[in-house]
Amino acid sequence: MRAQRNNIFSGIDLTLVLLYLFLIVFGWMNIYAASYSDEHFEVFDFTTKYGKQMMWIGLSFVLIILILFIDAKLYERFASLVYIGSLISLAGLFAFGKRINGATSWYDLGATSLQPSEFAKFATVLALAKLLSDKQYDLKLVKNQIKAFIIIFLPAILITLQPDPGSALVYTAFFFVLYREGLPIYYIAIGAFAIALFILTLAFGFNLILLSTYGMFTLFILYILFYRNISLKFHWLKISAVYALCGLFIFSVDYVYNHIFEQRHRDRFNILLGKNTDTRGVGYNTNQSVLTIKSGGFSGKGFLEGDRTQGNFVPEQQTDYIFSTIGEEWGFLGTSFLVIVFTLFVLRIIQLAERQKTTFSRVYGYGIAAVFFFHYLINIGMVIGLFPTIGIPLPFFSYGGSGLWGFTILLFIFIKLDASKSYEL
């Protein structure tokens, strides 16, 4: 055992590491394809995007060694400290941050810039894992639920204020973790119901959805009354409350959409719902991205053969829209393969998480699985035109040092925890 402990690579899950290596190599190839030009084709040219990304990939290996070198117990021990440090770095943005693209999300470090929200994710997961690992902790209690919500929403609110609502949205992923650890299902059920109502209201209008929702409720209640012969005598108040809340929600969707949303937000939904077909203005990104993916066809145009990628038809292609490069150059074979690889990657994390002996490791593993999944879900969903435009990166693929490091730290802390499970306890 001692010998094993001295070797930092012992016990690490090879499947995950190989999937990770595949993702960053394939990711870098696509960044190269999206940003190379005839004038710059040196792989190690640090003035180019792919050159910088190469450097960050190299540095993330240093990070990995460092993470694996640290004793796994220290992560649990310093989780709260990391979390608080992360909150401070997020709050510090409002004082010292650099404004890029309308959001104060970066610290300017001279040659490069750092995005603390990418690091806040693993801090939050650590803190959540730490909280839930307490043996006294029971998520059935509202008091405990609120504690968990605070840990999740504090960074999310700070990030929303930057404003970077896309990144904040990822924090809703943690509800899956809480549910796994005992949070009642109705949080997720109500959440899903609310999202469905929201989208349906936008698509079909306020009146129709309000009426049909009430109609469905009424039918449901009548069914219970007459066929199940259950007396609802003492539940009238609750039933009225449900009606009222539902009506209020649908009404507020309409209100929020028309009065609180800015035009750019409305545009994003309108394009998705097919109400706005402006492919030159607000719909340009999505339209170009979908066209680019389409043009790849079944087998793609081949690596570096994507003429739409070369022509920079998709804005921000090396960052949020990197998936369209894969679509063009690797075709359906490439995109579906990548979806499968991501799915396997996340499932493998969940599988390993379920095997953990400590609650801390399990919650941590579950937490990062949810984070990875939400990133890839929202990003690919946006690029292929299923979801509205929400700017978050595709893990390991999108250009950017902070993102790559954030995801690498997220993953390798888990790999370290997993590797140490045999000699912990």
Partner: protein
């Protein structure tokens, strides 16, 4: 553990949703099935080769290319500049500068457009030095056609920009490229244009070129056009055009031994340099709308005239071939020929030999209408029915290339008309028509129509004693592409060569003793035939006779002919007065490279028939105003 399935289930179902959507996008609905090269992101630009030059048979340059310079602008790249100085350089005022600038900007800020078109070579040389000062401006060079000789405009033709219609029909062309539209430029477009090169350029989302596509692996190199050497003799062509000044009509000269067209003159014509570049659209409107002079109308190819007396030559030949006459057969003339019982059925004759036996040679030399009316009638009546006779006669005539497209290598032509039985059967449905109904055909009038080039070919066939090469204009190409075998194979008329000598003697007599003896040449034996075709026009329902068309056909020398020529002058009067002297001068010019007959030369150069043409014009105008 059970609770752990919710996220896994969600993950797996989303994977199916994504793969489904991707399958829809990339396999079902994807439309880009063609090659990458057709993609909207690839710009195809063409590298234009130089269009081939055209030379005459002696190597004289007829058509060349000249550089044209356009000042181009890319508004986005324009940096603040000294407008005053710039305007001074270009010789424009500031308002114009701003107007052009706004227009370019309005069209596109990123793409180049023409700021000032067709700079002169001098302006270009001057501007080129200063261009570095004006960012966003550059000079684009373009090739235009240039005609150093100002001759044979209608033969050479002109090039025009390809319009959408042509571009749609022919995938080689893009709208705006140049294509030969008439004449040799059209006929040998494929030789002259060469093969354009293609460059594929990658463009970005602003349509801006960001470099060559895939390092140019799909690019092709342009192949220069072939230079053409024509059969035209430019010296003869220019001389003929000078002689034709002030007249309307055409001259066609052919080398009988090869079918090569030595000159092809139509008058009025135009200066080909006016149909080039910036001036073309303006001038082409002027030329094409000139319905009086019709400078774009190639009379030597398109005008269908009654051939008149020269037709008697072939009439005689057919008579001999059909063996209804011999060279010694004689007919009498009574200042005409009475072919029917009624007084009106009489064809006048000016031969002046009253009631004496006329033999073939004399009949031809004196152009006796009676003689050839007899011959014609005998040919038709040799057969049991007029229809059969007519068809036999028609077949002989057609073997000379008359009444059909000759097949020469120029894109314009007319069939002319040699009537056959079918035509008259249509006119007389009962079929009861006879030779005498069509007696005018005997002397090259009636229904017969020929174009000057058909007559020239006919003359060449006579000069060759019964055979000819199809006339053609292309002598050779710079890469020695073989000439179409159609122009190198000898064609035979239906007349046996043994019948030609008496006819040729008769034609020789025309210069010795006949209608053209005043323009005979001392050292060259010319055989020819004058012609005078009456022409009528119906104006205000009244048949008005105008001055006759003057015609002359000839070949020379009598033995081993080097040139066969036809001269056709509209309203030139009696054939021997204008057409004959011009023929004589042309033959002498071609065979000896000089002219001795200075009197006739001066007289022809200064003969102007404008007055006669004005007279017609006034009459036709009065017609149109009354209607």
């Amino acid at each position: 553990m059970k609770r752990g399935y919710l996220l896994s289930f969600f993950i797996i179902s989303m994977a199916f949703v994504f793969i489904g959507k991707l399958f829809y996008l990339q396999v079902i609905s994807q439309s880009n099935t063609g090659t990458n090269l057709k993609s909207s992101t690839i710009k195809k630009v063409f590298d234009y080769p130089e269009r081939g030059y055209i030379y005459d048979r002696n190597g004289e340059l007829l058509v060349a290319n000249k550089q044209s310079y356009n000042l181009m602008i890319i508004p986005r790249e324009v940096k603040p500049l000294d407008t005053l100085e710039f305007c001074k350089l270009l010789d424009i005022d500031k308002a114009y500068f701003l107007k052009r600038f706004d227009r370019a900007k309005h069209w596109s800020r990123r793409l180049p457009s023409v700021f000032l078109a067709h700079l002169s070579k001098e302006d270009y040389a001057y501007l080129q030095e200063k261009m570095h000062k004006y960012k966003g401006f550059f000079i684009e060079r373009k090739l235009l056609r240039n005609y150093p000789q100002n001759s044979a405009a209608n033969v050479l033709g002109y090039v025009n920009e390809v319009n959408d219609e042509i571009a749609r029909r022919n995938p080689y062309y893009q709208a705006g490229e140049l294509i030969g539209t008439t004449g040799v430029e059209k006929q040998y477009e494929n030789f002259l244009r060469g093969k354009k090169g293609v460059k594929y350029l990658q463009r970005d989302h602003f349509n801006k070129i960001i470099g060559s596509y895939k390092g140019g692996v799909f690019d092709t190199i342009p192949v220069d056009g072939k230079d053409l050497t024509l059969t035209l003799d430019n010296e003869l062509q220019l001389y003929g055009e000078a002689l034709m000044a002030g007249k309307r009509g055409g001259i066609v000269a052919i080398e009988p031994g090869s079918g090569e067209i030595l000159s092809l003159i139509t008058m009025p014509s135009y200066n080909p340099n006016l149909m080039v570049g910036r001036e073309r659209s303006k001038n082409s409107v002027i030329f094409f709308s000139d319905s009086i002079n019709k400078p774009m109308y190639d009379r030597s190819l398109l005008a269908q005239y009654a051939p008149g007396s020269p037709f008697k030559i072939v009439q005689g030949l057919v008579g001999l071939q059909e063996e209804i006459i011999t060279p010694t057969t004689s007919f009498r003339c009574f200042h005409g020929y009475k072919y029917g019982a009624r007084n009106s059925e009489f064809m006048g004759c000016h031969c002046g030999i009253y009631n004496k036996p006329i033999q073939l040679r004399q009949g031809l030399a004196k152009s006796c209408n009676s003689y050839f009316s007899n011959v014609y009638r005998k040919i038709i009546e040799k057969y049991p029915t007029a229809s059969e006779g007519m068809n036999a006669w028609s077949k002989h005539m057609r073997s000379f290339g008359l009444g059909q497209y000759l097949g020469y290598d120029l894109p314009q032509g007319q069939k002319g008309l040699i009537p056959d039985a079918a035509l008259y059967n249509r006119w007389y449905p009962d079929g009861r028509w006879r030779a005498t109904y069509t007696i005018s055909n005997a002397i090259g009038q009636g229904q017969i129509l020929t174009t000057p080039i058909q007559l020239a070919n006919m003359t060449a066939a006579i000069a060759n004693r019964g055979s000819f090469y199809t006339p053609h204009i292309l002598k050779e190409t710079s890469d020695a592409t073989p000439i179409d075998s159609m122009y190198t194979s000898l064609k035979h008329t239906s007349i046996n060569p043994k019948y030609f000598p008496p006819i040729i003697e008769g034609m020789h007599d025309v210069f010795k003793t006949g209608t053209a003896k005043h323009v005979r040449l001392k050292d060259i034996e010319i055989c020819g035939k004058t012609g005078t075709a009456e022409n009528f026009r119906r104006i205000n329902g009244e048949k008005i006779q105008f001055e006759d068309h003057s015609i002359f056909v000839a070949f020379a020398p009598k033995h081993d002919p080097k040139i066969a020529i036809v001269v056709y002058i509209e309203n030139g009067g009696f054939g021997s007065m204008i057409a004959a002297p011009i023929t004589s001068l042309m033959i002498e010019k071609y065979l000896t490279r000089k002219t001795t007959n200075k009197y006739w030369e001066q007289r022809m150069l200064h003969t102007n028939l404008e007055e006669e043409y004005q007279k017609q014009l006034i009459l036709s105008n009065s017609e149109s105003t009354e209607e």
